[in-house]
């Protein structure tokens, strides 16, 4: 699994959930993790299924079904310059958008483990929210390989 190439965008100017998911999805496309239609599917899923993708305070993890244009498993990190309301009663507003590409056979479980280990660590989340150094963000996720 290649985490070296995790795309990171800090202080994106999106002001709506749709735009934030689209901007985050763009990182997946650039990284060749997903086709453009996967990004539209993430937005549709958000509209259909609601704001549950805001899985923790300030953190949204949009994703779509793997058959909606996933290329390979992975994720990206998008930080919003201005917190955006996704309509979640408890976990709004969103500061971090982590778009996820999974796989149909759950082989991305390792990736989820690594991801949750970073996101469960308050110090790591604090770094994600405050640093201006993209290398530091990449390093947070890369450190998990050990």
């Amino acid at each position: 699994m290649q985490l070296e190439n995790t795309s990171v965008s800090l202080d994106d100017e999106s002001r709506t959930p749709d735009n934030a998911i689209r901007a985050a999805g763009q990182l997946l496309i650039e990284d060749e993790l997903a086709e453009p239609r996967y990004v539209e599917a993430m937005i549709e899923a958000f509209r259909d299924l609601g704001p549950y993708i805001v899985l923790a305070p300030g953190i949204a993890m949009p994703h779509a079904r793997p058959d909606a244009g996933a290329i390979r498993e992975g994720f990206a990190v998008l930080r919003l310059a201005t917190p955006v309301e996704f309509g979640h009663p408890e976990n709004d507003p969103v500061r971090l958008v982590i778009p996820l590409v999974g796989s149909g056979d759950h082989s991305h479980i390792d990736l989820l483990k690594r991801l949750s280990r970073v996101l469960m660590d308050p110090d790591a989340v604090d770094t994600l929210l405050t640093t201006d150094d993209i290398a530091l963000v990449t390093a947070l996720f890369n450190d998990l390989k050990n």
């Binding site: 299924l49 805001v54 009663p89 759950h106 989820l112 949750s116």
Partner: protein, 95 residues
Amino acid sequence: MKIITTCGMGVGTSLMLLMELQAIGAKHGITIDGEALDISSIHGQNCDVIFGSNEIVKSLNDITVPVVGIKNILDKTEIEAKLLEFIRSTATGRE
């Protein structure tokens, strides 16, 4: 015990939740047989309890199995407290 975790598509939060529940179970010596499923596949599944984020499980009002909602999928303390509470409640119910 058998736990089903659920989310919109069965590839994201439900899997994260299941991993967390299994880790907590292991810590307390409880074997958790689990499955992560999307919300549309949940009806008619055989299990002891369903876990999911609050926002997802609030649509499950027509289900006979106990349902536990989680506010913060990344909060081990909340997940652990709710799992142990569920286990205690079933133990009491059987006495």
